[in-house]
Structure formats: structure tokens, C-alpha cells
């Protein structure tokens, strides 16, 4: 009796959670398949309408902005490149940084770590003018490199990798040393495969972080060719509700692809380490 009760309670909490996540998404999706005037009169819809292809085709391929140089598909492409670049670079840089902090014990490695950690208190928004200055001096305005580089050093990822490396027993390094692994080999043959799970998690985290950027791309791009997702939502598709819904649904696709792809790795990593 009490067992059934417990299961009922826990399952209803879970179901409630699932609904909380799914329902808004469904509403947006269902509404994106109706005509604009219908939505305008009737409000958001639960049922699928008949305008799916028209709406999605229009939103994906209509040239927007003032100079009509960019389409939504171009915007998604830009954002994907930016987020992918930020995620891969920051995972790579953080891993290397954490490796040197943990395994190359200098007198100042703790100090260095805290210096890196303190940069969490200085987010991009705070240092946006000097960052802009540097990127502009390097002639990287209106380029993917300019979008990616200033965001690709992550203190939080460094922190997570550092904590993880510290939990790896010292003997593993020693055994590897006796087996003839040098520092580089130890990194490639041990730390990288052992932190697969962590890499996947950090990659997802940093991808979403990069994908959601608004202020930085807004400031450092003057050419509409480099517009990104959040900017696009504001600048091109700010008016018409159905187009906005459609755009939102489409904008979900790149991060979902990344998550679906990496989740397999993530779960695999979880099971292998046991």
C-alpha cells in the first residue's frame, strides 16, 4: 500500500516536471503551424494547423535585416559556428590549463588557479569595452574568430577539470611514468579518455553559453552577415508572432543536435567508468 502510494507520488512529481518542460514548447510549436491572422485573433493554439511548410519555408529563407544579406538559416549557421568554436576551444584550453595547474606543481600554481577563478567575477559584459578594443586592434571585427576568441577561456570549465584531475589517484600517473608515458602522453592516453564524460558535459554547457550570446555579437558585428540567433530574434523576427514562434522552434535545432549527439557519449562514459 505504502509502496504504491510512494510510486504514485514520485511519478506524479516526475510527470508534472515533464509537462512543465514540454507544454510551453508544444504550445509554441503548435502555434507556429497556423496563419498569422488566425493566431492574432485566437491566441496560442494546442492543435497543429495547416501552415507548417509555408511558415517554416518563409522564415528559413526570407532575407532580413536592412541590407537583406542574411536569412534565418544563415543566422543559425553563424550561431552554430560560434557556439561550436567557443565550446571546443574552451574545453581544450580549460583542459590544458587544469592539467598544468594540477600536474606541474610550481610554487604559484594555487595562486594561478585563484587568479583564473577570480575572472568569474569579471564577465564579458563588464570588460566589453577593452575586449572590443582588443578585437578591433586585431582586425577581428566582423569575423568568426572575433566572435569566438574572447569567449573561449572559461574559468568555470577550468575549475571543473581541475577538480576532476585532482581526484585521479597519483599512482596512476606514477604507473604511467614507469610505463614510459611522458607528460604529453599521459594527457592524451589517460586524462582525455578518463575525462570523456566531463568533456561532453562541459562541451554542452559551453555550447549553450555560446549559442545564447547576445551583447557581444551585437557590439562587435556591424555586418549583418555575422548576425547570430538571439540578435536575429530581435532584429528580423521581432514583429510577426507566427514567424517568431517558427524562428524559436528552428533555433532549438542546433543545440538539440549537439545534446542528442553528446548525450550518448555522456551516458557511455558514465557506464564505462563503473
Amino acid at each position: 500500500m505504502s509502496r504504491i502510494f510512494r510510486i504514485t507520488v514520485s511519478h506524479s512529481i516526475l510527470i508534472w516536471g515533464v509537462l512543465l518542460m514540454i507544454v510551453p514548447l508544444w504550445l509554441v510549436f503548435a502555434s507556429s503551424t497556423h496563419s498569422n491572422s488566425f493566431i492574432y485573433n485566437e491566441g496560442m493554439q494546442w492543435k497543429i494547423g495547416g501552415e507548417f511548410f509555408d511558415n517554416y519555408d518563409r522564415v528559413l529563407n526570407r532575407k532580413g535585416g536592412f541590407t537583406k544579406e542574411i536569412t534565418a538559416s544563415g543566422i543559425f549557421y553563424n550561431s552554430f559556428i560560434m557556439a561550436f568554436g567557443i565550446a571546443s576551444l574552451s574545453v581544450f584550453v580549460s583542459m590544458m590549463a587544469a592539467y598544468s595547474l594540477v600536474y606541474f606543481k610550481t610554487r604559484f600554481s594555487t595562486l594561478f588557479f585563484w587568479l583564473i577563478f577570480v575572472t568569474l567575477l569579471v564577465p564579458l559584459e563588464l570588460r566589453i569595452l577593452p575586449s572590443y578594443q582588443i578585437v578591433s586592434d586585431l582586425n577581428l571585427l566582423n569575423s568568426y574568430a572575433g566572435l569566438i576568441l574572447p569567449l573561449s577561456a572559461s574559468a568555470i570549465a577550468t575549475f571543473f577539470f581541475r577538480q576532476y584531475y585532482r581526484s585521479i589517484p597519483e599512482e596512476l600517473l606514477e604507473a604511467a611514468k614507469l610505463d614510459g608515458a611522458n607528460s604529453w602522453k599521459f594527457f592524451i592516453d589517460f586524462l582525455v579518455p578518463l575525462s570523456k564524460t566531463m568533456i561532453a558535459a562541459m562541451f554542452i554547457f559551453m555550447f549553450v553559453y555560446g549559442y545564447n550570446q547576445y551583447l557581444w555579437p551585437l557590439i562587435m558585428t556591424t555586418s549583418e552577415k555575422y548576425w547570430t540567433v538571439v540578435m536575429g530574434l530581435k532584429m528580423i523576427y521581432g514583429g510577426n508572432s507566427v514567424d517568431r514562434y517558427t524562428y524559436v522552434i528552428l533555433s532549438l535545432i542546433p543545440p538539440v543536435i549537439i545534446i542528442v549527439f553528446l548525450q550518448r557519449l555522456f551516458i557511455q562514459g558514465l557506464f564505462q567508468s563503473k
Binding site: 596512476l172 606514477e174 604507473a175 614507469l178 579518455p193 564505462q272
Partner: protein, 350 residues
Amino acid sequence: MSYLELENVTKIYPNGTKAVNETSLSINEGELMVFVGPSGCGKSTLLRMIAGLEDITGGEIKLDNRVINKVDPSERDVAMVFQNYALYPHMNVYKNLAYGLKNKGESKEEIEKKVNQVAELLEIKEFLLRKPGQLSGGQRQRVAMGRAIVRNPKAFLFDEPLSNLDAKLRGQVRIEIKKLQKQMDVTSVFVTHDQVEAMTLGDRLAVINEGVIEQVGSPIEVYEKPATYFVAEFIGTPQMNFINGKIHSNKFISDGFEFSINKDVKDQEVIFGIRPENLKVSANGSIKIKVDLIEKLGADSIIYGYDKSNNYLCYRENGNTKIKANEEISLEIDDENYHLFDQETKKRLN
């Protein structure tokens, strides 16, 4: 013939702690030398210096006539078995064994041959494709051994490899290690704090205390003729009995009893030591104790009691003893097997 040689080896940590102090020792080819001592005595540090995992502050380590002080660990031609095995968790057993060979640049066929040989020797062939996480403690232990053997090193170094196994398995593995070591005839150093392991495994023991080797010798030598008070105290369970007193004209005199010694020792303050099994009950024994506690272990009975001057003494008798608690018994000293130590220097006198 000396094969692995330590000369005045010293280790001082940056914070000033002296872990190993001017230690010299020579280990013969094919010999199994056990470093035994309490935790923190520097035995592991010494082993790690041989392996190259710890810098050497002073002195010299030679392996097969080559000074290896500055040689990279992988080039020293030694293999180590770690306490927690340190198997590579993300590689299967085959890759664990092959990793060192691969780094040496050996060919695939060569590696496969060697790994298979070792796997056969250690009976781990059926686990070759499993990951360490899927193995039991004993199997992991074998893989760790295998990883050391497959490299065919000049010396094996064991850092308390049995301490993570349960008691029964530990006994089995101990025998296996001994057999393997003899079979392969590889010079080995085995670090342990467990004296049973030390006594059963070692061709010779080096008893280490506070960074200094107190005695080197065969297990029986160390047991029968401990060179210092520390060795006498450390080796043997139940512990040796110690009674403070003095020597006066070849007679040991304590508050509780007197005992004529059959060797010339000059008059001085001494510690008298006698092992529990070197006492026996006798009507006119010189030591009278009041029995406090009896432990019956089946094969032996251990009897504890206080003598007149409140020394807590221990006496071992075979089988199921008839002695009862609170009984007064007299114990006689075996006049071949007793030990005298200088109270100042703690060195053996007889």
C-alpha cells in the same frame, strides 16, 4: 653478488623532514628483500627512490652496476606493483599489460606474444578483454603483477600490494608471489608493514625505523637475534616481553626477579627481553606472575599477567591451557633465548 645497491641514500623533503637517512644496503641478484617497518618509517620513500618516483637528496643507487640516480623512471628497467594496483581504468587488461611495451616501441606481434605469455602464467587469459572495474580484487592484483612481469625488468618493486586484499586471499597471493619470484628469479624489493608477510616472503628483511635500517638479515636471524630494541619489539606477535633492570656481575637484576646470564656483559642498565614462547611454567621458575587474561587461539594459548613489579608479561603455551585467570604461576626463562639491550643506545648486548 650485489645487484641493487644503495649507498648512503638520503631523502630530505623540502619542508625539512628527513624521511631516509644515509641508508646503505646491497641486494643480491634474484633475492627478495623485504623492507618492513611501521607506517611513516621511510620504507615506501626508499622504494619510490629506487623506482625514480622520488628525487634522491643524497647518496647513490646502483642497479646492475649502473648509477640510476638521474635516470628517468621508465629507463631504469624496474617495474612496480602499487598498493591500490593503479591499473588504467579506461583500458582493458590487454591494453594495461601492453601499454608499457607499446611505449618502448615494440612491434605488435612481439607485444601480443609477451602479453599472452604473461596472461597464461598468471591465468588471466580469460579476462584480457575486460576492464579493471569488472575484475575482483584478486584478479586486479594479478593484472598488476602481470603489468610488472610483462616488461621483464631487472627489478620488481612491490609497494604493499597485499594490503587491499582480504585475509584469506592475502595468504594465497603471498604464496603465489613468492613462487613467481623464485620461478622468474628477478631481484625484488617488497615493502610491507605486516611482519607475517615480511617473515614469510623475504629471503632477507631490512627492518626500518625512522629512516634508518635497524637490521638486515634472514627472517630467522632477525627473529632470533634482533640487533636493536626496536627490532625486538617490532618483530613477533605476541610481542617480546621487556623488563628494565641492571646487570651486576653477570646477573640480571630487576625488581621482580634475578637471572644469571651465561655471557660476559659489563655492569650497566639494560632492558631484558624474552619472547613469550621462551618462557615455561615451572615450580621453581624465577618469574612469578598473576594471570590477568587468557587468549585461546586453538593451536596456542596466550597468557597475560602482571609480575611483582607490575610488568605486564605474556607467555605462550601450546594447545588448550589449564591455567585459569587470577591464578599465580611461576615461569622459567629459557637460558638460550633471551635478549639484552643497552638502555641508552638500545643496541643488543648478548
